[in-house]
């Protein structure tokens, strides 16, 4: 914890905040507003948890992007998981955040209350353990997540093969960050002039995964960690670039993120998975932004094994999570925010996950 505390130091934060204010006043002389999108949900959460927005100058705006894997999960995916639990008598194993995500009409928590076998796991390997201990039952793990979460989830297959288990499979809805960044940069409604790039995702894919992107779109970008000082340093770095009119990719999080990324994790992903188009809730289909199991692992692919579709679904039309995820509106500009949509009864997925933009706003900034 000492290591972490170093990145929460009050005096250091004060000094960096002062620098940020100086840089911001130089920007305001040039009539420039810094519109920084933090792409990752853990950044959103940390910004809210430490009250970072409140200590920033007026012309430095933080805009929360689509970086929470739970928030971009389609309603149809939740519907499919509920069908598996209720109509096919399959045991669902999942990370806890997924329980409250609204499908077309119900959540997995509702299905559990109605008798569905839904198990909250802290680690994907807990699901393997459950499958091993209950050989007569079928288990499906909900494979949600970005590059960070994908490797541990697909290690289920490796483990299941080793243990000769045939009663466990994965319902995949894996998402990739770089194609989403690409879509955001191309989207004319998304008005940002700097990106705060994710920490742990970058540790997997490596800093160089963004080099082309930064050049092509000519947009200042800093890879930053999740601790408050990391974020403040990241913001400071972006403001420096904006003041100097420079565009470059800076890796502020070198203590964790290497240029090449994590080869072991990347190879593991490549062995089991291939890219495919993926539907992002509220945003739509982004080409080649998902990962699905390769054909040779069809036995572990729950959508094939049970022939369920994760496409379609009818989320509440009034929900503006899509606009929130693209940084077009702030959460409190959605007409449902803090009225019909609260963490207790979320309508949109951004209100569900602790890392969702709306939940962070609700929890910390109302």
């Amino acid at each position: 914890m000492k290591y972490i505390d170093g990145f929460r130091n009050h005096l250091a934060a004060k000094a960096i905040t002062k620098d940020i204010h100086e840089l911001a006043s130089k920007l305001s002389e040039k009539n420039i507003e810094a519109r920084i999108m933090e792409v990752c949900g853990s950044h959103t959460m940390s910004i809210a948890r430490y009250g970072i927005r409140q200590i920033l100058p007026k012309n430095v705006r933080l805009i929360s992007g689509p970086g929470c894997p739970v928030c971009v999960t389609d309603a149809a995916y939740i519907d499919a998981a509920i069908i598996l639990a209720e109509e096919r008598a399959v045991h669902i194993a999942t990370f806890g955040d997924m329980l409250k995500v609204p499908g077309s009409s119900r959540t997995l928590a509702d299905a559990r209350g109605a008798g569905g076998n839904i198990h909250v796991c802290y680690s994907p390997l807990d699901a393997v353990k459950l499958a091993k201990e209950n050989p007569l039952e079928q288990f499906v793990f909900l494979g949600i997540g970005f590059e960070t979460t994908v490797p541990p989830v697909i290690s289920i297959i490796k483990k299941a093969k080793a243990e000769k288990l045939t009663n466990i499979s994965i319902l995949t809805a894996f998402k990739l960050v770089p194609p989403a960044l690409e879509a955001l940069a191309q989207d004319k409604d998304v008005a940002v002039n700097a990106f705060l790039l994710p920490a742990h995702v970058s540790a997997i894919i490596g800093a160089e995964a963004y080099t082309d992107f930064v050049k092509r779109h000519n947009i200042s970008s800093v890879i930053a960690g999740f601790e408050p000082l990391d974020i403040l340093l990241g913001i400071k770095g972006l403001l420096q670039q904006l003041v100097q009119g420079k565009v470059e990719l800076v890796n502020q999080y070198t203590r964790v993120v290497k240029n090449q990324g994590n080869r072991v994790a990347l190879n593991l992903m490549d062995t089991y998975l291939k890219p495919s188009d993926a539907s992002w809730r509220g945003i739509g289909t982004i080409p080649q932004s998902g990962l699905i199991l390769r054909d040779e692992y069809a036995d572990y692919d729950a959508s094939k094994k049970y022939n369920v579709s994760t496409q379609g679904g009818t989320p509440d039309k009034r929900c503006r999570c899509g606009d929130v995820l693209r940084g077009i509106i702030f959460p409190d500009e959605c007409p449902l925010f803090n009225k019909e949509c609260t963490p207790l009864f979320p309508i949109g997925p951004c209100m569900v996950s602790s890392e969702g933009s709306c939940a962070a706003y609700y929890k910390y900034s109302r």
Binding site: G41, D97, Y122
Partner: protein, 339 residues
């Protein structure tokens, strides 16, 4: 507006957050708390028999695992009820003990737990004076459930209540927060990253007695169990003209509890304690109470963590880096985040 109704009891209804509150407000308060001592849902009922002022309280214990680092369900069952009686401003005297045992429970486990009940009640000086034992078929409960109820004698002049809290009062904690909840989660999930983290299960009766020396200035006492200090403080300020501002740097946390919370993505302000208390008092006696608490082993980690302000109905945290943010009542279950 479209009404949303949850038709069944969800686990979140037992989490100590908003969902629990809704259940109690809609189903219990409307039936039982329209008049009498249950109004306002205090930790214990204040009852008068002749000239005697008594406090009566009850609590059920369903913790899993039964035995955990720093305690077991037996100690918890004594401390939980003793603490509810104590923070209601009374000296605990008598306890009832009801056991619901699942077929197949090892007698050796039951013996160890009964021994801890004896030990814990002897330490505090409360007597088990009545009880009940039921055995249910396998699968009808999880090994062992315990209910205790307690009666205590009101301490003179110690009249607490939210209505006595005023702008300028201060908030104290008797020690590090969230240890119990994190110790249980670490034990349940077999997180081996730290083996030093112990539950804080313990009695607060001596802390209450110590603070009672300045009874006039003591405004409010509560043991922050399910839902943590966020729940307790959130309930205090709800619909009130005052708010509470906490200083993050002053809030004491055990480094091992913080490590577990970081890994699971849980806010320690939402996590249960079973041997701590929060106290709101006037500023002139705060240092006295603090040093009286620090002189006791169970109060060694006490700190003044915040003050009552005019931030109407809100609990605000001044963060380590100087930002400010709202502290919200937890919603339902504590769910670990995924990345």
């Amino acid at each position: 507006m479209k009404m949303k109704k949850t038709e069944r009891i969800l686990l979140g209804h037992g989490g100590g957050g908003k969902l629990s509150r809704n259940l109690i407000d809609n189903e219990i308060v409307t039936r039982f708390a329209t008049d009498g001592p249950l109004v306002g849902l205090p930790d214990g009922a204040s009852l008068q028999i002749g000239s005697e002022n008594l406090v009566f309280s009850t609590d059920s214990f369903v913790v899993s695992p039964l035995e955990f680092p720093g305690g077991d369900i037996g100690r918890l069952a004594v401390h939980g009820t003793v603490n509810d009686v104590s923070v209601s401003g009374a000296k605990p005297l008598w306890l009832s003990l009801a056991l619901i045992i699942e077929e197949g429970l090892e007698i050796s486990v039951l013996r160890r737990i009964l021994d801890s009940i004896k030990e814990a009640s002897d330490e505090i000086g409360v007597k088990i004076v009545t009880g009940d034992t039921k055995v249910v078929a396998r699968g009808q409960c999880d090994r062992l459930f315990i209910n205790t109820a307690g009666i205590g004698k009101k301490i003179p002049n110690l009249n607490t209540g939210v209505n006595r809290i005023k702008h300028g009062d201060v908030v104290l904690t008797s020690g590090t927060l969230g240890d119990h909840g994190m110790a249980i989660m670490a034990a349940r999930e077999k997180l081996t990253l730290n083996n030093k983290l112990l539950s804080d299960t313990g009695s607060v009766h001596r802390l209450v007695a110590a603070a009672a020396k300045w009874a006039e200035g003591v405004k409010f006492m509560r043991d922050p169990t399910r839902g943590g200090i966020a729940s307790v403080l959130g309930e205090i300020v709800e619909n009130e003209s005052f708010g509470i501002v906490l200083k993050e740097e002053k809030i004491p946390y055990n480094p091992d509890a913080r490590a577990v919370a970081e890994v699971l993505g849980i806010d320690l302000m939402h996590v249960a304690c079973e041997g701590r208390m929060l106290l709101v008092c006037s500023s002139d006696i705060a240092e006295n109470v603090l040093s009286a608490w620090k002189a006791l082993p169970e109060g060694a980690g006490a700190e003044i963590i915040g003050k009552v302000t005019n931030d109407k109905g809100r609990v605000i945290l001044e963060t380590l880096i100087g930002g400010r943010r709202m502290v919200d009542i937890p919603q339902g279950e504590l769910l670990p985040r995924i990345c």
